[in-house]
Amino acid sequence: MNKTDNKDKTTSIARVGSLLNRKKIDRVPFFPFSLGFSAKNVGYPIGSVYSECVRSFDAQLWTQQMYGHDQDPFFGSAVYGTSEFGGDVEFPIGDWIQSPRSIRYPVQSFEDIDKLGLPDPQSAGNLPKALEFSKMQESHGGLISLVVGGVFTTAGNICDIRNLCLWIAREPEAVHRVVQLAADHILSAARLWVKIFGTQRLLVQIWEPTAANSIISPRHFEKFVLPYQQKLHQEILGLGVKHILCHICGEQNKNLPLWGQVPMGDPGIVSLGQQVNLADGIKYFGAKNIIAGNLDTSLVAGGTANEVYEAAKKCILAGKDAPNGYILMTACETPSQTPPYNFYMLTKAINDFGFYD
């Protein structure tokens, strides 16, 4: 919290640690999911938050210290899988482009799938940098995170979402193969992180925007996503990982009962998009997991300060008493162009409404 309002009784690291251990906490934690915003906040190029470990870590840490939020620095992007499987990614250039994009997919035809091997997580794509970043997280003392895509998002980043969608109808076996490869790769990366960092402080972050119902039907989710995602989570948890932060991004209302079958940890953190009602999130995931979400990022970036404050208040009041706790979080990445005062209003709302008696 900011200096004048600060009523915090503990540190962010201790607060999040207590929440994950189902212990009492002083207030609702706040995860702003702010990558590009943090870079801009400290005067770094937006692209540096995805491509330069030290700048990325510093920008996020300094922004965390400035606003008093609770999300330790993390390293990752929504194009996970493209460069890891041998494709090319372009990092954001200039002040406007917010996130990396895939510019050459490793798989462009069915034939390419046969040539696709399982990448070595020590050297694949952006993972060496992610490892370096995790070493910085380890020294910092907070959570150590491995950020990956969900199986369908990673598959879409391997062969392009458009192809993935067309192949669902035309070449379903190809989709199964790419999704399986994605799952195998994610598991191998998780194994590496466990080997190097242990499980005590490890948080595996899985971001899944591509399985949204604006793209695929729940029927296809059940067939092409659920079995792989479920098995992947079981295997990750089987390595001794205690917590998975699963970002169920976007419009996934029709998938919720299916996501409810996916284990997230003890407890996991389920992060929801603004399209999902927090009450529904609590219904499907709250009995076992911490709920996080789901501030509308368009509002955060483009609304008035008062609108942002009221929206944050609404989320806090809706989620605060979830059985395993709640984290105020944006529905997706906080836009890099968010007015700093709007960002401050989120911390103010936490301070005004987030404390427990």
Partner: protein, 212 residues
């Protein structure tokens, strides 16, 4: 099979997303004596309209919409040589772009596909398009509609600049500006000076048909 039944067969292949059967069905319709324009309008395009309605009602998803676009393309293979450009793109010209700073193009491409299927000439400028380039294209093409896409909320400023540049160039009375994309709303469209907001690719087609 008479020509009406044959055209209905074309429509059915589109609606059932039968990419392997559509070209054969189009050829059968032509063989039955159907006018190529009727095969296009009452068969392929009408089928796409039904696909669009199913998408809007939640029965079809993006997967099906994309596949329908491929079915349409396959159906046009035997048909195109028999059609003029006016037959295929006779409804008017739409300049399509994702605004400056936004690199997402899946939604924009979908709009382009649906507009083409509905008979519009689409000038697709791609993603991350500078306002000036849109202005120049409108000027050269005499397009009546600019359709803008944006996924990310920070691009609101780009949307505003694009509308301002169109206005400064003296073209605002000549074109209707519509916008759509994940972070857009009717309120935002109005505030940014656009003429309308489209909830999805199907709505974009309805708007263009209304404005042409």
């Amino acid at each position: 099979m008479n020509e009406h039944e044959a055209i209905q067969g074309v429509l059915s292949t589109v609606v059932s997303l039968d990419i392997d059967g559509v070209a054969e069905q189009v050829s059968a319709a032509l063989k039955a004596g159907a006018d190529p324009r009727a095969v296009l309008n009452e068969g392929l395009s009408a089928g796409m309209r039904i696909v669009g309605e199913r998408f809007q009602s939640g029965e079809y998803f993006l997967t099906e919409l994309l596949l329908a676009g491929e079915v349409m393309k396959a159906g046009l293979v035997p048909l195109s040589p028999l059609l003029t450009n006016t037959d295929i793109q006779g409804k008017g010209t739409v300049v399509l772009a994702t605004v400056k700073g936004d690199i997402h193009d899946l939604g924009k491409n979908l709009v382009g596909m649906m507009l083409s299927a509905a008979g519009f000439e689409v000038i697709d400028l791609g993603s991350d398009v500078a306002p000036q380039r849109i202005v120049e294209t409108v000027r050269k093409s005499q397009a009546k509609i600019v359709a803008l896409s944006m996924l990310l909320s920070p691009m609101v400023v780009s949307l505003r600049s694009t509308v301002e540049e169109i206005t400064k160039a003296g073209l605002r009375d000549q074109v209707k500006v519509i916008v759509g994309g994940a972070c857009t709303t009717p309120g935002l469209a109005k505030e940014m000076g656009c003429d309308a907001h489209g909830e999805d690719a199907v709505a974009a087609v309805h708007l263009c048909e209304k404005f042409i």
